[in-house]
């Protein structure tokens, strides 16, 4: 059953007790909270997700609560709990919704070792995926947001899940975390896209969460094959051209960007080197989003047949 079929009151009730079960990609999380901003955020951002009821198996049991003590009333805070334990220091209460997203990412990257997890955004077209690894500030999320509202499917804006069995990427379409100027840029270009209220002064500056496109959420069971690795870099004066880079260098750089590469030992090395072998690898310096879209669309031209069918 989809979350959008629920009333706001029913959702609130669930979130308080026994927790709302949310299916995001291959993971099921049971979320508990009585913080209104989180409940509203979930209602807005996760409307298209399936929310099974009853005694189902949940991968992660998480809660967002105000920690006990004086700070319940004075300079209020929020803590993220993973099955009763708080792995992080509390944040200001206003950052509760981004904390849910960060916490969920932490759950996945620390426990889902049945995948090789790379710190990269991933988008797909025609069954083939682009991995976009990049440090914070490289413009990865902005680029991803623009691509997935222009014909590409969102697999993830943060965590590329590589299957250890067949090397495919599992979709994990979740809200995209836009930061600072990107919020207005995407808001202007896509006024139809729904966003959470802005959170000021987080560790990453101002953050707003962008709802994942409905189609990407609906196709959360269709894996894709990695076909390209592109290291994006937003830079004034960037020419928006894809420049080939060495495969050996890409293997090393992407290894540095993996969350659990060392956990998998030789198996991880084999998987990653096979993946890079099959991918075309590029550096990509861009200033203009339309230019970027054109460059990426050039990688995956829509086959003539499909074009005819959609015409």
């Amino acid at each position: 059953m989809k979350l959008s079929a629920w009333s706001r009151a029913a959702l609130w009730e669930r979130l308080r007790n026994p927790g709302l079960v949310l299916q995001t990609g291959p993971f099921t999380s049971r979320v508990r909270t009585s913080i209104p901003a989180v409940a509203d955020g979930i209602f807005l951002l996760y409307a298209d997700y399936s929310a099974p009821q009853g005694d189902v198996f949940a991968d992660f049991h998480i809660a967002l609560r105000q920690p006990p003590g004086l700070r319940r009333w004075f300079r209020r805070q929020v803590s993220f709990y993973f099955d009763g334990a708080a792995p992080f220091k509390p944040l200001p209460l206003a950052q509760a919704l981004p904390m849910l997203e960060w916490g969920l990412n932490w759950c996945i990257s620390n426990h889902a070792h049945h995948y090789l997890i790379i710190h990269a955004a991933t988008v797909e077209k025609g069954g083939r995926a682009i991995l976009l690894p990049g440090p914070p500030g490289s413009g990865k999320s902005t680029l991803t947001a623009f691509l997935v509202y222009n014909g590409w499917r969102l697999l993830s804006d943060e965590l590329a899940l590589l299957s250890l069995e067949d090397g495919s990427v599992s979709p994990l379409a979740r809200p995209i975390s836009l930061k600072n100027k990107a919020i207005d840029i995407i808001g202007r270009r896509h006024p139809e896209a729904r966003m959470s209220p802005r959170c000021e002064d987080t560790a990453k500056g101002t953050v707003a969460l962008l709802r994942a496109p409905r189609d990407s959420v609906a196709r959360s069971h269709e894996p894709a094959r990695p076909a390209w690795v592109v290291f994006p870099q937003y830079k004034a004066g960037g020419d928006g051209r894809l420049r080939p880079r060495s495969k050996a260098g890409t293997l090393i750089d992407i290894g540095h960007n993996a969350f659990n590469y060392s956990v998998h030992g030789k198996r991880g090395f084999d998987l990653l080197s096979q993946t890079i072998d099959r991918c075309d690898c590029y550096d990509f310096c861009y200033e203009d989003l339309d230019q970027a879209l054109a460059a990426f669309d050039g990688l995956a031209p829509v086959p003539a047949l499909a074009q005819a069918a959609s015409a």
Partner: protein
């Protein structure tokens, strides 16, 4: 509100499956939710994975919980790989010193290929070296890249003066933590242990003769004294399973039970051994082996203390998970923490230490808050100068986005 019947069922769940992994095959799928959570909390997920795989039952586990078991096993295999590598680095660092290094606990189980090593997650590596050589050992390790893992001056002094180890060392690049001990209980304990007695009987590892492990009886006694006197029970169930593994492994050897009995008496470690046997029986339904029945009768405390200890350990040794805790669990853990300290040091040392610890903690938190506030201010200033998307602070780095 959870009924007490529910709590009883939840408490019996994980010990039952660890004792009889074959019962997992009959588990209703939704029950796996709690098994995985409790096993993760107790640090025995990977162990359970190995146990089920040995019986050919892993494939019977529904896919979603099975993924967690396998992921935990993958992580445990990595830990074992890392510990072997760390030990080889350690041996090179200490190669110039003519020295006997005795491995303790996890590292010993791993290198001696003993059952508790399977599926184990390591938080540190424990070694034992002669007390009169400990300064040069520390010096060599610092040269090789290990630095103080504890920065606080009081803690540094406390470790060196009152405990059986130097302050934990952490490798500056690899982050691995090394505990260098000179004996197995603090010198201030009611029954101090002379480490020379242990090293004389220790055994060389077949593959690497630079490293030694404690003799079987000593290994069991160290594991027991560690579990029942350290005062931390987050891995209590796992430690109890270690002991059950060791006892069933060594129990097959001729003369083991007698040597365990006499060694416990000689080292003054009869109490932790008694408690081990008692809670193996109570929690995991593993009866005390016949050769130790007499000894257990000799060692057992009066009935009243027994019931008091049961009330505490029955709670503390279960997974520290919401489903197993009742309104007394936190108190039980706290009382055992105090008990452990009391066993380790006399009252005139203990009271000032605990007072200091209870005041230090809020102070440390206050410092963290201050640091965080400063980071926020700096960030705002930076943003005012030049807006930079994705500026990170310690918190963000921790979460990796």
């Amino acid at each position: 509100m959870i009924s007490s019947h529910e709590v009883c069922r939840a408490r019996a769940l994980l010990p039952g499956i660890l004792r009889r992994p074959e019962s997992a095959a009959r588990l209703p799928p939704e029950r796996w939710d709690l098994v995985i959570r409790q096993a993760r909390q107790a640090g025995v997920l990977a162990r359970l994975c190995f146990q089920l795989d040995d019986l050919g039952l892993l494939t019977e586990v529904p896919e979603r919980p099975r993924r967690h078991l396998e992921a935990a096993r993958t992580l445990a295999v990595k830990h074992a790989r890392d510990v072997r590598w760390e030990l080889s680095c350690l041996c090179s660092a200490l190669a110039d010193r003519e020295l006997t290094i005795t491995l303790l606990k996890g590292a010993a189980y791993l290198m001696a290929d003993l059952p508790p090593a399977r599926g184990r997650l390591f938080s540190d590596i424990d070694i034992l070296v002669p007390r009169d050589r400990i300064d040069e050992v520390e010096e060599s390790l610092v040269e090789a890249g290990w630095g103080p893992g504890v920065k606080d001056a009081y803690d540094q002094r406390y470790y060196r003066r009152w405990t059986h180890q130097i302050p934990p060392l952490q490798h500056l690049r690899r982050g691995s933590v090394l505990d260098v001990h000179h004996t197995i209980v603090p010198p201030t304990a009611r029954t101090p242990v002379n480490a020379a007695t242990l090293t004389v009987d220790s055994l060389p590892l077949p593959l690497d003769t630079r490293l030694r492990v404690l003799a079987p009886a000593d290994m069991v006694l160290h594991s027991a004294v560690h579990l029942f006197s350290e005062g931390e029970f987050d891995r209590g169930l796992r430690d109890l399973l270690d002991l059950s593994d060791l006892l069933s492994q060594f129990g097959r050897r001729a003369g083991f039970w007698q040597s365990l009995d006499s060694r416990a008496e000689a080292l003054g470690l009869t109490e932790p051994l008694y408690l081990t046997l008692r809670y193996l029986d109570r929690l995991l339904a593993l009866p005390t082996p016949a050769p130790l029945h007499d000894a257990v009768r000799r060692w057992q405390p009066p009935a009243l203390s027994r019931s008091a200890l049961d009330a505490l350990f029955d709670r503390a040794l279960l997974p520290n998970h919401d489903s197993c805790n009742d309104y007394l669990s936190a108190t039980a853990r706290w009382l055992l923490y105090v008990r452990a300290h009391h066993l380790r040091m006399p009252l005139h040392l203990l009271v000032p230490h605990l007072v200091r610890k209870s005041f230090r903690r809020p102070a440390a938190q206050e410092n963290d808050d201050r640091r965080r506030r400063r980071a926020q201010v700096e960030q705002v200033l930076r943003a005012a100068r030049a807006p930079r998307p994705g500026a990170t602070t310690a918190n963000a780095a921790q979460m990796r986005e």
